[in-house]
């Protein structure tokens, strides 16, 4: 019968349409599932990243946290060459040399970060800390700022007062583009640090120690081959950026003390 042919074709066409619809539905479902899977994967990934970031931040903050000063400081004594030694009596090693410039921002950062660790180590009798004040700047206004401050610090003859003055100078550090460390301020900060010596004011005003400071500074930069300030040396070896990580600095010094 001729009718068979078109009917058969019709059925197969309907079947084809139905199966196409089914395929389309399945495809939509597949896409929906894929989207959902994608969202889950995305959220999981972001979650894992956030967790890792949090852990790393915690570790970074912890290992770089500054110490608190725990007790009385070790005795501080001025040396004839202008360096300052902070050590318990009888402690001669390991030697921690700090080469710094009052005007240098990174030195201020070192002081803020690791200054307390150095004080604690000296107080614990674990190290002999030697401060070397330098002037690395060759341009104005930074050079004069540095020279005025360094000269004034040399006018302080008492160790404890010197350290208080030293810390104050960093607190008051001028920017590198402005004149600072004015003589009047230096005298006032000296008084705040407990300096009562009558000749302190004339010493600061007259910048009497500039020549001695400059001579020492030039000589040290040349002989120690310093790349810059601050440089912290442990038994003559530069600690590099370890000096900026209180926990690592402490560990290095304690290792050397063993």
């Amino acid at each position: 019968m001729p009718a068979e042919q078109p009917r058969g074709a019709c059925v197969s066409k309907r079947a084809r349409e139905a199966s196409a619809r089914a395929r389309a539905a399945a495809q939509r479902e597949a896409i929906r599932r894929q989207e959902q899977r994608k969202r889950t994967t995305m959220l999981t990934t972001v979650g894992v990243i956030v967790l890792i970031a949090g852990a790393v931040t915690w570790w970074s903050v912890r290992q770089s946290a500054s110490e608190q000063i725990t007790g009385p400081l070790a005795p501080i004594a001025m040396q004839p060459d202008g360096t300052i030694v902070m050590a318990k009596p009888g402690v001669t090693s390991p030697v921690v040399d700090v080469y710094e410039d009052y005007q240098c921002p990174a030195c201020k950062q070192l002081e803020l970060t690791s200054g307390s660790t150095l004080k604690n180590l000296a107080a614990e009798g674990k190290a002999k800390v030697v401060y070397h004040l330098l002037t690395i700047f060759k341009q104005e206004p930074t050079m004069s700022n540095s020279l005025r401050a360094s000269s004034a610090a040399r006018c302080v003859t008492d160790g404890a007062q010197w350290l208080a003055f030293h810390d104050r100078l960093y607190q008051e550090q001028p920017t590198e583009t402005s004149a600072g460390y004015a003589v009047d301020d230096l005298i006032r900060w000296g008084r705040d640090a407990g300096v009562t010596a009558p000749d302190f004011e004339t010493c600061v005003r007259g910048q009497k120690n500039v020549a001695a400071h400059q001579q020492y500074s030039t000589q040290v930069i040349a002989t120690r081959k310093l790349a810059g300030t601050p440089t912290v040396m442990l038994n003559g070896q530069s600690l590099g950026t370890t000096a900026f990580v209180p926990s690592a600095l402490r560990e290095a010094v304690l290792d050397a003390a063993r």
């Binding site: 994608k38 995305m42 972001v46 770089s64 240098c104 803020l112 060759k138 950026t241 900026f244």
Partner: protein
């Protein structure tokens, strides 16, 4: 089916161009990712140094500089790893690009103000000695290059060898790169 049957031979040369371009993305990801990772890895051990490097630009108040100094190495390391893996490629490249724009702004501004600073890009940082050359122009050119990498990755993520593809995180948004995923071809041909 009809589309594909007729599309196949036509798209063949195109397909190979697309493939080549996705390799460019991979290279850009490696260049930017490895650089960011190295820059962050050098700095992360001593955040105080990186804080100092940020302060040296004299653009942010001290508290912000402290946050940025601590956070930047972590962001650099994570974004660097993500770019190398090709994971969350486009967002990572956006972050990398934003960082580069910030660096370019910071360095240009330091240059314009006559500050003499070591960018602190790869560790170090702080003031440059009087007789040293800060080399701002090279830093700017380098960062512009990295910015270009970031822009390319944003334009054509995620490239070959990307975890985004393996995890099915890429595709539907970008028809160009979806074409070289094999499951797409497989489902259409039957």
């Amino acid at each position: 089916m009809v589309q594909l049957a007729s599309g196949r031979p036509v798209s063949h040369p195109l397909q190979s161009v697309v493939k080549a371009l996705s390799w460019v993305t991979t290279v850009a990801r490696l260049v930017l990712g490895v650089s960011l990772f190295v820059a962050g890895a050098i700095k992360i051990g001593a955040p105080a140094v990186s804080v100092q490097a940020v302060k040296a630009y004299q653009l942010l108040p001290d508290t912000m500089a402290t946050v940025v100094g601590h956070g930047l190495p972590i962001v650099e390391i994570i974004v660097g790893i993500l770019l190398v893996l090709g994971l969350l490629t486009r967002p990572s490249a956006v972050v990398g690009g934003v960082l580069m724009v910030a660096f370019i702004v910071g360095i240009s501004s330091a240059w314009a103000r006559g500050l003499r600073i070591d960018c602190g890009c790869f560790g170090g940082g702080g003031t440059v000695g009087a007789d040293q050359d800060p080399g701002y122009i090279w830093e700017l050119l380098r960062d512009a290059g990295y910015l270009l990498c970031a822009a390319w990755i944003i334009y054509r993520p995620p490239g070959r060898f990307a975890m985004d593809s393996a995890l099915g995180l890429s595709g539907s948004r970008d028809p160009d790169t979806a074409g070289d995923e094999d499951d797409e071809d497989g489902s259409d041909t039957d």
